[in-house]
């Protein structure tokens, strides 16, 4: 059973990682806890759901639709709620992002209603036996999409000019600007990428749990923040590994100890890690890992 539970942990962790990557990228370039990120995840799930229900699209179209729409939402968020807000006051942008959270959640409740909705079966359910574990077609699909996405993102940040610019801005805004990096553009691109990934993560979560609700973003937002702290603020590799770690801890404690103690165990581990490694597992504020 332990192997099967590890697979469960991996699945849960993959969605935490995808959300945390967005948080950490935005934190890296703006030093901002972007609260609305969880709601972008929720919007992505609903766009995926409606692409499937209304247009009868397959899962790939749903993923693409959510990615594009959430990317656009990210761009809109920068233009409408980040740039106009004073950077001099450290709390202003945070408050603005809380505002976006409330607006997105209430819009979703207004449009879709306050209830959970079933995510239709878009991937044919089949079970495969791999040694001691049984893995389903849905799980394989989600893992493949998550791993490919993380690999592309890693390559983008490590190997492209824009990736280098993002890392430079994360290191130091002023120096990057002096060296000719267009900081505004970097911030915009970071938001678009982070939001697009959150959109995909939302659809994957809908597929994994077979339902979506306007309240799904809040819980994920909190977990994403925990993962970001665990992995190291602004550290993409940290977010990837931290997400998987959190998923594993949650599943194993739910399976062997009990759900009521789960959060206690999770946060106790988090506190211990931060006591011994205050900058997180992979160090803070660099996007390339330490």
């Amino acid at each position: 059973m332990i192997y099967q539970q590890l697979i469960n942990g991996l699945m849960l962790g993959a969605s935490y990682s995808l959300v945390a990557i967005g948080y950490t990228l935005i934190f890296g370039v703006l030093n901002l806890l972007y609260f609305a990120h969880g709601e972008v995840f929720m919007v992505g799930a609903f766009i995926g759901l409606y692409t499937v229900i209304l247009a009868g699209a397959n899962i790939y179209v749903a993923l693409a639709g959510a990615m594009i729409a959430c990317g656009a939402l990210g761009a809109l968020a920068v233009v409408a709620t980040v740039r106009p807000v004073s950077k001099d006051h450290p709390l202003a942008q945070l408050i603005s992002s809380i505002g976006v959270t409330i607006v997105l959640q209430n819009m979703a409740i207004y449009i879709f209603g306050g209830q959970q909705m079933a995510f239709p079966e878009t991937i044919k359910q089949e079970l495969y036996r791999l040694g001691p574990v049984i893995i389903s077609s849905v799980q394989i699909f989600i893992l493949v999409v998550a791993v490919v996405l993380m690999a592309i993102l890693w390559l983008f940040i490590e190997r492209t000019k824009m990736g280098r610019a993002i890392r430079a801005v994360a290191e130091n805004h002023e120096t990057a600007a002096l060296l000719g990096v267009n900081v505004n553009r970097v911030v915009l691109v970071t938001f678009v990428i982070s939001s697009a990934i959150a959109g995909i993560a939302g659809v994957l979560d809908g597929v994994k749990n077979s339902n979506v609700s306007p309240f799904m973003g809040l819980e994920v937002a909190v977990k994403g923040l925990v993962v970001m702290l665990l992995g190291g603020l602004g550290n993409v590799t940290g977010a990837m590994v931290g997400g998987i770690l959190l998923g594993m801890v949650e599943i194993l404690s739910a399976a062997y100890i009990g759900t009521t103690q789960r959060d206690f165990i999770t946060f106790a581990i988090l506190i211990l890690i931060l006591l011994f490694r205050p900058s997180g597992l992979f160090g803070t504020r660099t996007t390339e890992g330490s």
Binding site: M1, Q4, Q5, N8, M11, L12, I109, G113, G114, Q115, Q116, M117, A118, E121, Q125, L127, I134, S136, V138, D205, K208, N209, S210, N211, S213, F215, M216, E219, E250, I251, L252, A254, A255, G258, T259, T260, R262
Partner: protein, 390 residues
Amino acid sequence: MRFSAMFVTAMSVVAFAVAPIGGAEAATVAGPKVKLGCMVPLTGKGAEWGQGAKASIEIAQQEINAKGGIGGVPLEINCYDYQTQEAEGLKIINRLVERDKVLAVVGPCFSAVFEVIAPQLDSRLKTSIISYCSSKPGLSAMSRWALRNTLTSDKQLTPVVGAWVKEYGIKKAVIIHDAEDAVSKAEGAAILPGLLKSNKVEVADILTYRTKDTDYSAQITRAKSLGIQGIALGSCYQNAAAIAKEARKQGLNVPMVGGACAGAPGFIDLAGKAAEGAYMSTAAWLEDPRPEVQAYVKKIVAKLGTQPPYSGPRSYDIVYGLKHVIENSGVTNKPGDLASDREKIRTGFAALKGFPGVAGEITMNEVRDGAGSTAILKVVNGKYIDVRKK
């Protein structure tokens, strides 16, 4: 001739059953309107229950006003959404009692909210709350102002678990329940273990989750490893549906049985094929061919687009029950008589016996809970059927 004789007999029985209460004098209801309160959860885990109730309460109000109101005075019902949250529920009951000055309150739904409001009633609020969907045993005993027109979940579940065990030949089962929701916890931790034991079913393990959880893979993997033949749920319909789907995803195709909060139409909508074969309890059965039930179903489906869970018919019946009590227990509806009117409604409603309703007769028992029979629902081809009728 035979039909009319039966009709006259039936009407006399109803007339006897709903005769003026406790010897109280019928008084003239005064004032520009009769004001009742209503508490509904329109979002959160109780959304479907609250939406079904709100639409039903509005239908009852329209029908009553179309026929001249209560004692000739139009009925006004102030409805508020408490988002299935205890703190919101407390705020709203205070608003209804102290600011809106309602005669009685229809609601709240959910035992978790009911049990935080009930202790406030005796000492301070002194206004009846009449729940249309709270079924954790023992709650109405917390206050003489706390009433429920619904069967407690032990009474609802007893026949359902028996039928489920019998049909599927269950010998070993696992219980999965919500560790936070009041009625689900009562079902999972106390009622279901006892019922399974009395049906000679071994409880292999009791697993929990938290209301806002969306991932149940750990619990299902554990359940699967135990070699069980069934899953008993202390769970609301959204979580129950997600658990059913996760079980299917992991290839654990065993039948489920669920209690008061799980047996909503939303369970089938959300779980789809994974719902097939599940047994659920309920405190109303809307396939009932009685014309008054079908007339209600027609109206509620036209308004809501779908059938409500039992909160709908039970809340509809409460509004009519209150009309009957107000008209027959000497309620004056004068501002100066508010306290005594509230007291009359409390004693009047608590004494209701055999009052006809679409969810069945309202008969309040000695601890102010509803009594009567329950249906045994089974999901067959995406619909609930009552297996008692087969």
